[in-house]
Symmetry: C2
Subunit: 336 residues, 2 copies
DNA sequence: GCGTTAGTTGAAAACGTTGTCAAAATAAAA
DNA sequence: TTTTATTTTGACAACGTTTTCAACTAACGC
């Protein structure tokens, strides 16, 4: 077996042209027909495949894009899938990193990604890395933020209308007769959590309902937090009649608790969740949810990023997408 | 803002040494103390970060590893997470690709990965690309197969004992009194599906139970297939009393049908699934499942691959891992 | 035919590292 | 000291592409 991959030089020799000509052929420039034929023949005969690494060194574009998310949960995995397709179609590959909501891990991943000279980074950030991100942007790494916003950064963004999505959900809950509505928040250091909480607060005020501090649970995004919060709410002497969860992970924790306590959603406790993972519709009853437009997010992400790379775009752009309310059995009329 | 990243040459100039010395420093070789100090100072002053692309071109090792799976479902996403960590810890990054069980897409992804000069590929393959994979191996790309085996390929493997896992499940089903057990298979072009089916067939025979062809549903891995198969089984005049699903996607389709038909698992129909996604334990009743050791798979994957890259390993190795049977409410005593 | 123009080509210099080799500096031995 | 062994260094050639620039060809109109 002949090791050492054939290079453009081998092709050039075999086709009896200069390397530059082969390079031009590879990049789709005009080539005299006779040469083109010989080059094509040589390439397929040698099984030549251009070395992207060498190309990257010369062109300063690796044609690879980084994806840095907190964790590869159902939401981010779905984004990943769509992304891989969209990017591949444009000749880009995807490098994946995760940080588990830890600023330190995030900085490390950022470093790793940067020293790999990725062309752009898609970032679902956590707070506390503002300055680090700004440094990268200043160092000329185009960043597209999504999911969680970092206010001051000069980057493209694909955001979801968290506030409106939550507001709509709360309004519907109230329509169903609920007035004491528990709210389980994620980590308020993240804009996503803040916006969702704001959506809840605004709507309650708007509808003239009292805001009860004890019914607002502020901790982190973990499943166990959802579990604990739900227990705390349910064990109150004056429990809420419905609970809104700021993410499906929290809701999942809640379901876990309810299952253990033999409480049936939509009967013993009405619940609504932000995010709509596949399995919500499989549960009996199904879980009412604010569905993020996952596919659209991923597509916008790819679109924004690629257009920035290929064209010469200056000003940061923001795409905001709306959520979809999915009414299922876990939310029903408040019984009295 | 000074564009153009600082290079090793800039560092060398500033520290007043030769580039070679800086390179040696970066690679942890011995350096005279005085030089080392000056180099360190220069590096941090310039914010220098070694250009991995250039390094890769010279060393012929990109320090990146490809992951090619059919789809980023819960199973593969979990693998992805663990993998990213393990690889990162060893200085490798992960490039992700998927093929959706299509041989054509798979070959394309393989090409893309190969021309990026990845150091190794982690591959959950589909059939029909045997020769293509062999070509890559011959071309010196180390491949580690997992999930689905490709019999003739000279590669490392991390496999799960599909046959034994299924056999155990079937045995338990029989212990619960079931004798007519439906089997919903995935695509039999894939070894995983074949092994699971064999586990079922062997066990039935072993226990002296008849094998009823009409209760063996052979199609693809899709959710809709699980749905259709379940309906077909349930609508028979002589339905099975229990069904085994060859993957959680199929089972999910089955659940979808049952939910629509108001059939309760573990009561109207007993079911067991291969794979144990998170949400199986949230359903009421929980779904009985054969759980793959996802984390161990990912770890072995990283271990095998890295050890092959760093040391000089010749013979292909295979790691086989056992599954764990999780008994939940969806499997119970056959009522008569 | 001949000049002009537009399109193709070859030669050679990058890109930022690492690795080789011989020379220089240091440490150890005499 | 001087000699010998060891470590560390600098210069420079790779690695496989793209790009620039000047030289060549072909095509066209007169």
């Amino acid at each position: 077996m002949n090791h050492r991959n054939p290079t453009i030089l081998d092709v050039a020799k075999k086709a009896d042209v200069a390397v530059g000509t082969v390079s031009r052929f590879l990049n789709g420039r005009n080539i005299r027909k006779s040469n083109r034929d010989r080059i094509e023949a040589a390439i397929s005969e040698l099984g030549f495949r251009a070395n992207i690494v060498a190309r990257a060194m010369k062109t300063e574009r690796t044609k690879s894009i980084g994806l840095l998310v907190p964790v590869f949960d159902e939401f981010n995995s779905a984004i990943l899938s769509v992304l891989v397709d969209e990017l591949q179609a444009n000749g880009y590959s995807l490098l994946t990193f995760h940080h588990g909501h830890q600023a330190k891990a995030m900085i490390e991943a950022l470093e790793a990604a940067a020293s790999r000279r990725i062309d752009a980074l898609l970032l679902s950030a956590t707070e506390g890395i503002q300055t680090e991100v700004e440094r990268q942007v200043a160092g000329d790494l185009p960043i597209t933020l999504f999911n969680n916003d970092l206010p001051e950064v000069a980057a493209d963004r694909v955001l979801v209308n968290d506030r409106a999505g939550t507001a709509q959900a709360v309004r519907r809950m109230v329509e169903f007769g609920h007035e004491r509505i528990g709210f389980v928040s994620g980590d308020l250091f993240e804009s996503t959590a803040r916006n969702r909480l704001d959506g809840y607060l605004d709507t309650m005020r708007e509808l003239g309902l009292p805001i009860v501090e004890e019914l607002i649970w502020k901790q982190d995004w973990s499943r166990s937090n959802g579990h604990v919060a739900t227990r705390a709410f349910c064990e109150r002497t004056d429990p809420p009649t419905a609970i809104f969860y700021s993410s499906y992970i929290l809701a999942t924790g809640g379901l876990e608790y309810m299952r253990g306590a033999s409480l049936v959603p939509g009967k013993d406790m009405h619940i609504v969740s932000f995010d709509d993972p596949d399995y919500f519709s499989l549960l009996a009853p199904g879980i009412t949810a604010v569905a993020q437009p996952v596919k659209a997010v991923a597509q916008s992400l790819a679109e924004l990023t690629i257009s920035r790379l290929e064209n010469d775009i200056d000003a940061p752009r923001t795409v905001t997408l709306d959520c979809d309310f999915k009414l299922r059995g876990s939310l029903g009329l408040k019984k009295d």
